[in-house]
């Protein structure tokens, strides 16, 4: 089984670049250059230096004693919450801004849901001195107010997406429209392993640093590079892709992908693509997505803005179809409780996205010597208002 993208931009049946002709030149330029640029020594040097000195990598692989005790197994947390700006998203934006500079781009656009990708993009634009416009759904602008303020402090313009469910999907539509309108000067920094080829592969490559680090960290701590399980939350799937990347061919490593069930998979208010999704086209990619029988994309729901997306990246559709990954759906309530539990047991407040991965422990059985690596994709600072309201703190 092959888990990397093929020459045409597909992972098995999923992927491709289903975009209007107006975007073809942009994607073509990227497609032709991204592997060459990323492979370049000079690029690697800049990228690795920024990851180290600016982002704060390597992030720790932390043995979480108290939750390990509770769930009777060995739980390691990959601390992406300690990245500059507070989530894994910046691994990708650092890579893409360096790429955009080498392509001579003068303007950056991005979509954002939780605001983490928006902040990570605004951050690298500030660093590079490049103009930055962030599209964000009107609903998300409200529920992730601190991140909106951060983007503004960083000098970015935040544009409210007012169509559809006014969340991530719609922000992505707006960003794509902007790109169509500004095809030459502008680079679009997509924030997850979604969108047209080569984005899913490119973003996965930039996030793969996560599992590259884990292999050597786990070797040091446990004498083996391979855990028994990898667990990640899936919005579009970039933190998951980064966590799995260097383990996909390693079939002893089981993979568990945790989606948002919102108010329940069958409630009509969910984002559980693995259960509810059918094959289709979203944001230029052929993948699984939630849609009506006649192909209208369904408005997703999750308490977590970063998981509130009706599709998954094509890699993940492929991992599901080939049974390389097992998918689980976690409700808002389960996720919120898990978030509070992790805060109180380990002193780390997780992003609500991240909390979904921890809620999965209640539905899984591990052996006491099983080694589990959870991607701690982000910190919960952006979600404090949601936590406060939910728990009446």
């Amino acid at each position: 089984m092959k888990y990397t993208v093929d020459k045409k931009g597909f992972y098995g049946n999923y992927g491709g670049a289903f975009v209007p002709e107006m975007l073809f030149p942009n994607l073509d330029e990227l497609e032709k250059n991204y592997n060459k640029i990323i492979g370049d020594k000079d690029f690697q040097n800049d990228y690795n230096n920024l990851l180290k000195d600016y982002v704060g990598r390597p992030t720790p692989l932390y043995f979480a004693e108290r939750i390990s005790e509770k769930y009777k197994c060995k739980i390691y947390l990959k601390r992406e919450d300690l990245c500059h700006t507070g989530a894994h998203k910046i691994n990708n934006t650092i890579g893409q801004i360096l790429l955009a500079k080498r392509l001579g781009k003068k303007r950056i656009i991005a979509e954002t849901g939780a605001g983490q990708h928006g902040v990570a993009t605004a951050t690298v634009c500030a660093l590079a001195g490049i103009e930055c416009v962030i599209y964000m759904g009107a609903v998300d602008i409200k529920r992730q107010a601190p991140n909106v303020a951060r983007m503004k402090m960083l000098g970015a313009s935040v544009v409210s997406a007012e169509s559809g469910s006014k969340t991530l999907k719609d922000a992505t539509n707006e960003a794509i429209r902007d790109w169509i309108n500004n095809p030459v000067t502008t680079h679009y920094i997509i924030g997850s392993v979604v969108g047209p080829h080569p984005y899913p592969d490119m973003v996965a490559k930039f996030q793969s640093v996560i599992s590259t680090e884990i292999r050597s960290q786990l070797l040091e701590k446990e004498g083996t590079e391979s855990p028994n399980y990898l667990i990640a939350n899936i919005g579009g799937g970039s933190n998951a892709a980064g966590l799995y990347y260097n383990y996909l061919e390693d079939h002893n490593v089981k993979i568990i992908s945790v989606e948002a069930a919102g108010k329940g998979v069958e409630s009509g208010k969910s984002a559980a693509t693995s259960v509810l999704g059918k094959i289709g086209i979203i944001h230029g990619s052929k993948t699984l997505l939630m849609q009506t029988n006649d192909g209208q994309i369904t408005e997703p729901y999750s308490i977590s803005a970063g998981l509130d997306y009706p599709g998954v990246g094509p890699l993940h559709a492929h991992l599901l179809e080939t049974k390389r990954a097992e998918f689980m759906s976690i409700t808002d309530d389960d996720a919120m409780l898990a978030g509070l539990e992790i805060s109180k047991l380990e002193g780390i407040i997780p992003a609500i996205e991240t909390a979904h991965a921890f809620a999965a422990f209640n539905y899984l059985d591990f052996k006491s010597d099983d080694i589990i690596v959870v991607n701690f994709s982000g910190r919960g600072d952006k979600d404090l208002n949601t936590y406060i309201d939910y728990f009446n703190l």
């Binding site: 030459v184 086209i281 944001h283």
Partner: protein, 255 residues
């Protein structure tokens, strides 16, 4: 029998094509709008199959699309409405829509249905040429459905030539890279682009779309192409004047 599109393109003079979103303003306006357009002398019609996420369209078409979906429009409804349309309508009818609804219907079923109804061709902005060629071209041929491709200002000459070789009927020449709705005139950059394409001597005729809004832009557009498509401006006119104003709007473009 020659496809109605080809036949129309062979006629003398410049063609006026109108895009509208099926199911808008009301679910059952589709056929009525088509009749009125033919009556008022329009040469060709693009019937928009509404999609929830029309990422290549400006706000006017976005809004009409979501209204239409709310009104209950979908693929089955549209096909039902169009049943028997060929008893009364002779101008070319094209369905323009995003790929996902067509994929869900089944590409072959979709083409078959179009053939039954008498739809002459499709414009699917997010179905790439290569993917079409490899997977669907033979189906389109089988059901004699034309597939029209887009070119845009940044499209390379090489790619334009490829599109020229594969396009049925006409090439949809996107007038600018701006999809934020119709403008009042063309810029010098756009005119240069039109001239550049003109000089390429393509075998396939071109119809200009995006940014054609009134007599002035229509006439500017057809200087460099066989015809032009009006979309957003037509829908805006529907919003303000209703179906009754269609004839007046078309006359304002044509004379």
């Amino acid at each position: 029998m020659m496809n109605r599109i080809d036949k129309k393109l062979k006629e003398e003079g410049k063609l006026l094509s109108i895009y509208f979103t099926a199911g808008y303003p009301s679910k059952d306006d589709t056929v009525d709008i088509i009749f009125k357009l033919q009556e008022s002398g329009v040469d060709m019609i693009e019937i928009g199959l509404p999609f929830s996420d029309p990422l290549a369209d400006g706000p006017t078409i976005q809004d009409s699309s979501s209204e239409a979906i709310k009104n209950g429009m979908n693929t089955n409804v549209l096909f039902n409405q169009l049943k028997g349309i060929r008893n009364k309508v002779s101008i070319p009818l094209i369905i323009m829509g995003y790929f996902n609804p067509i994929l869900q219907y089944g590409v072959e079923d979709f083409c078959k249905k179009c053939n039954e109804i008498g739809i002459d061709g499709l414009i699917i902005p997010d179905l790439p040429m290569d993917y079409y060629e490899e997977n669907y071209k033979s189906i389109f041929k089988k059901y004699e459905i034309y597939n029209m491709f887009l070119i845009a200002p940044q499209t390379s000459d090489e790619r334009i030539k490829k599109i020229d070789s594969i396009s049925d009927g006409f090439i949809y020449m996107v007038s600018s890279s701006s999809i934020t709705g119709s403008k009042d005139s063309f810029s010098s950059e756009q005119l240069e682009y039109f001239e550049r394409i003109e000089k390429m001597n393509l075998k396939t005729p071109r119809i200009t779309g995006f940014g054609v809004a009134n007599k002035k832009t229509f006439e500017a557009a057809v200087k460099f192409s066989k015809g032009a498509i009006i979309g957003s401006a037509f829908i805006k006119n529907l919003d303000s004047g209703g179906i009754e104003s269609i004839d007046k709007f078309i006359k304002s473009i044509r004379d």
